[in-house]
Symmetry: C2
Subunit: 414 residues, 2 copies
C-alpha cells in the first residue's frame, strides 16, 4: 500500500475537529472586533533574510527554509510578530496608529514531536501598535480575558508582573546585564521546579547560593510598580474580578523581548494551565522601520485552548452542521423530498438530502445516526397524499406527522 | 534600508482586504453548512511522493518542494483534491459516505507572476465523495449558484456539458484516444479564440481542416445526454432559473480529470467571467485507496470573486469593524469613557476607546475619520455633570446629547 500518512507534527482535521477550531476562531474574532481590532494576513513565505536572526538560536534551528525555483532563499512563517514588524515598516504611511490588529494564521516550526509538539499550528495574536498609554496595556489584558470568557472559561488566574521589577537589580548593581539575563531566565521556572530547584540551577551558573537566595527573596518581596498600579486602576472599571489578577514578581516570560507589563492567563479548571501570555514590547516592532514603535499584545495558546475546552466540555453539543436529513422514500417521491429540503434551507435550517433515490429507509436512518443528524423527515405515499411529513427524532425515536410549516417551526426552535 | 518587501506573488492583506476575504469565507461557509457540507483541513506540507506525479508536467514544474531538516522530501499543498484523496484512504473506516466536505485553504504554485497570477492563494472547494447519484451532481450545481447568490451575484450563465459528449467520437472511431485528448484540449478554447482559431490550431496538430470542421460541427450539434437531462430535471425543483443553464457541448474543462457532468459559472455583470468550475470525477479520489470512489465537486475562484465583488460593489459599506469611538476628554474623565465603552461592548456594539488620555479632542476626531469610524462619543465636564453623552455623526457632523441607554439604542439601530 502506498504511503498515505501525514508528516510527523502535521495534522489532518476531520469535520468535527475542524468545526471546533472554526468555532473558537469565530468566537475570538467577534470579540476582537468588539474591541475594534482588525484582521491582518501576511504571507506564508518570506525572504529568509526577513526572518533569520530574529528568533535566537532556537529559531535558527527550527525554521523551515529552502531555496525556491527562482533561487531565492525563503522561509516559512515562524511567528506573526516579525512579519507584523515588516508590514508596519512597509505600510507605515498607510496605516493609522494606534494600529490594533488580530492575526490568526499557521506557523511552522520543526519542533521535537516527541514532546507532543506540532510542526504546523495556529498562532492567534492581538496587538496594539503605536501607543505607550497604559490604557492599551489594560485593554489587551481585558480583551484577553473577555475572549476566554466568551469561549466558556470561568475561573482564571491572571499572573501579572512588570519587567522593570528585574531592572532594579541592575540599577542597584546587584547583577551585570548578562548575569541578570541568566538570573531571570532561571527564576522564571520557579513554578515548575520550586525555590530550591531555582537556587540549585542558579548555583550551576555560578551564582553563590547565599547571594542567589538574597536576590530571589528581593524579587519575591518586590511591590507592584507604578505601571502595574495604574493598570490595576484602569482594570477596576472593567468587569475583571480584582481577585483574578495575581501579582507574581518572579514571572519573566522569556528574556529580552518584553519591556514593561507581562502577564499570563491560567485556568484553574484545567491542569495544563496557561491559555496564553503577553505583555508590552516596545523595541521589537520598529526593527524594520528603524525607529522605536511601542507595542503591547497577547498570544492565545490555540491548541491548548481546544484541549482545555474538550476537557471542560465547553463546545456546544450541536456543533455538527446538519440538523435534518430529508430521506427519499422512492424515486417517484424524489421531487417531494427535493421540495421539502429546499424549503428547510430557505428557512436557514441546515439540512441534508439523502443523495440516492434507491435506498431503503433503514439505510437512510442509519446514515443519519452515523452522522449524528438529530432529525429525519420521511415522506412516504401516505404522507404525500395527506400533504403531511413524518418527523422522526433520532434520539428519542419518536415520530409525528406535521404539515411543512409546522415542521419548519418545530425544527427551528429545537 | 533593509528589504521589507514580500516575495513576488505573495501578498499582505491589510485590514480592509482581510475583512473582505473573511466576509466572503463566512458567507460561503454558512451556505455550505446549510447544505450539510462539513469543513476539512489538511496540512500545508505533505510527503513529496503524495503530491508528485499527480498534477501533470505543469504541476511538477510549479510545485514548491524541498528537503526538510530530517531530510524528508516534502512539498507544499498544490491543490486540495490530492490531499482529500489521501485523507479518504487514511480515514476510510472513520468517515461516512457520501462524504460532503468543504475546504478553504491556501495553496502554493510558483506561477508566472507577470500573468497577474499569485503564488499563494486560497482554494475554496466543495465536493461530494462516494455517491454516483445525479442528485449529488445537481446539489453541487445548486449550492454553487446559491453560494454566489448569497454573495450578491445575480445574473449567471451556467455553462453545462457532459464529458461523454466527447467519448461519442471515440466510440464512432472518429478519433483515437490520443487524438481525442488533443482535440478536446483545443476546442475548449473556442470561446477565447473562436471557431477559426480552433480549426487553425487543430490543423497545427495534424488535423485536416475539413475533418476537423466536421468533427467540431458534430460536437456543436450534440444534444444533451441523458445524464444532463436528468440533472436538468432535478434542478427544475430548485430555484435556479432554467434560463441560467446553458448547454455548451464544446465546454471541456481540462482533459482527463472529469468523467461526467462539467460546468462553469460566469457572471454576466463582470467581464472577467468565470467565478468557478466543477464537475464529476469518478476516477481520482480513489487513487490512494486503490478502488474507484466517485466524486463530484466545484471550485470557487476566490480571488476572482473578490475582484468581481469589488467591481460590482457587493461588499457591505460598513465592513470596517468599529462603529463607535469613545473619546477621552481629559485624564480626569477617563473613567467615564471607560465606563461607556464597556457598556457599548456589553451591548455588542463594536467600539474603540481612544487609547490616550492626553490628546485633544480634535486629534481623536481625526483618528475616527482616518479609520472611518462612523460615530464618536464625547464626554466632557458638562456632559459628565448632566449624566449625558454627546454623540457625533462623523458623516453629517451633527451632534446630539443623549443618555447612555438612549445612545445605545440609537447606535444599535444605525
Amino acid at each position: 500500500m502506498k504511503n498515505i500518512q501525514t508528516l510527523k507534527g502535521f495534522r489532518d482535521f476531520l469535520p468535527l475537529e475542524a468545526l471546533k477550531r472554526q468555532y473558537v476562531i469565530d468566537k475570538l474574532k467577534k470579540e476582537f472586533e468588539l474591541y475594534g481590532f482588525e484582521p491582518l494576513e501576511t504571507p506564508s513565505l518570506e525572504y529568509e533574510e526577513i526572518l533569520s536572526g530574529k528568533y535566537g538560536q532556537e529559531g535558527e534551528k527550527l525554521m523551515y527554509r529552502f531555496e525556491d525555483l527562482g533561487k531565492r532563499k525563503v522561509a516559512m512563517r515562524y511567528d506573526q510578530t516579525v512579519p507584523l514588524a515588516r508590514l508596519i515598516a512597509l505600510y507605515r504611511n498607510k496605516l493609522y496608529f494606534p494600529f490594533k490588529r488580530y492575526q490568526i494564521q499557521n506557523v511552522w516550526r520543526a519542533e521535537n514531536t516527541q514532546k507532543g509538539r506540532y510542526r504546523e499550528f495556529i498562532q492567534c495574536d492581538i496587538d496594539i501598535v503605536g501607543s505607550t498609554s497604559l490604557l492599551a496595556d489594560a485593554e489587551v489584558v481585558e480583551l484577553s480575558i473577555k475572549a476566554l470568557q466568551v469561549l466558556g472559561f470561568k475561573k482564571f488566574k491572571i499572573l501579572v508582573n512588570d519587567r522593570k521589577v528585574f531592572t532594579s537589580l541592575l540599577l542597584n548593581k546587584d547583577l551585570s546585564k548578562d548575569e541578570l539575563s541568566t538570573f531571570v531566565r532561571i527564576i522564571d521556572k520557579i513554578k515548575k521546579i520550586g525555590k530550591d530547584g531555582v537556587l540549585e540551577e542558579l548555583s550551576k551558573y555560578g551564582f553563590k547560593r547565599e547571594t542567589a537566595n538574597i536576590l530571589l527573596t528581593k524579587i519575591q518581596n518586590q511591590e507592584k510598580t507604578d505601571t502595574l498600579k495604574d493598570i490595576y486602576a484602569i482594570l477596576e472599571n472593567s468587569s475583571i474580578a480584582k481577585g483574578q489578577l495575581v501579582f507574581e514578581p518572579t514571572l519573566a516570560r522569556g528574556l529580552d523581548y518584553y519591556t514593561g507589563l507581562i502577564f499570563e492567563i491560567e485556568t484553574e479548571e484545567y491542569e495544563a494551565g496557561s491559555l496564553g501570555g503577553g505583555g508590552r514590547y516596545d523595541n521589537l516592532v520598529g526593527m524594520f522601520a528603524n525607529e522605536q514603535i511601542p507595542a503591547v499584545g497577547f498570544a492565545f495558546g490555540f491548541d491548548r485552548i481546544i484541549e482545555a475546552m474538550d476537557y471542560l466540555q465547553l463546545f456546544p453539543t450541536n456543533l455538527k452542521t446538519s440538523k435534518v436529513l430529508v430521506t427519499i422514500f422512492s424515486n417517484e417521491l424524489k421531487d417531494n423530498a427535493l421540495e421539502v429540503v429546499a424549503k428547510l434551507r430557505e428557512n436557514l435550517i441546515n439540512s441534508e438530502l439523502f443523495l440516492s433515490s434507491q435506498s431503503v429507509i433503514d439505510k437512510q436512518l442509519k446514515y443519519a445516526n452515523q452522522k449524528s443528524i438529530p432529525y429525519v423527515v420521511i415522506i412516504g405515499p401516505e404522507e404525500a397524499s395527506q400533504k403531511l411529513l413524518t418527523l422522526k427524532d433520532m434520539s428519542s425515536g419518536q415520530q409525528e406527522k406535521l404539515t411543512l410549516p409546522e415542521l419548519i417551526k418545530k425544527v427551528k426552535n429545537l
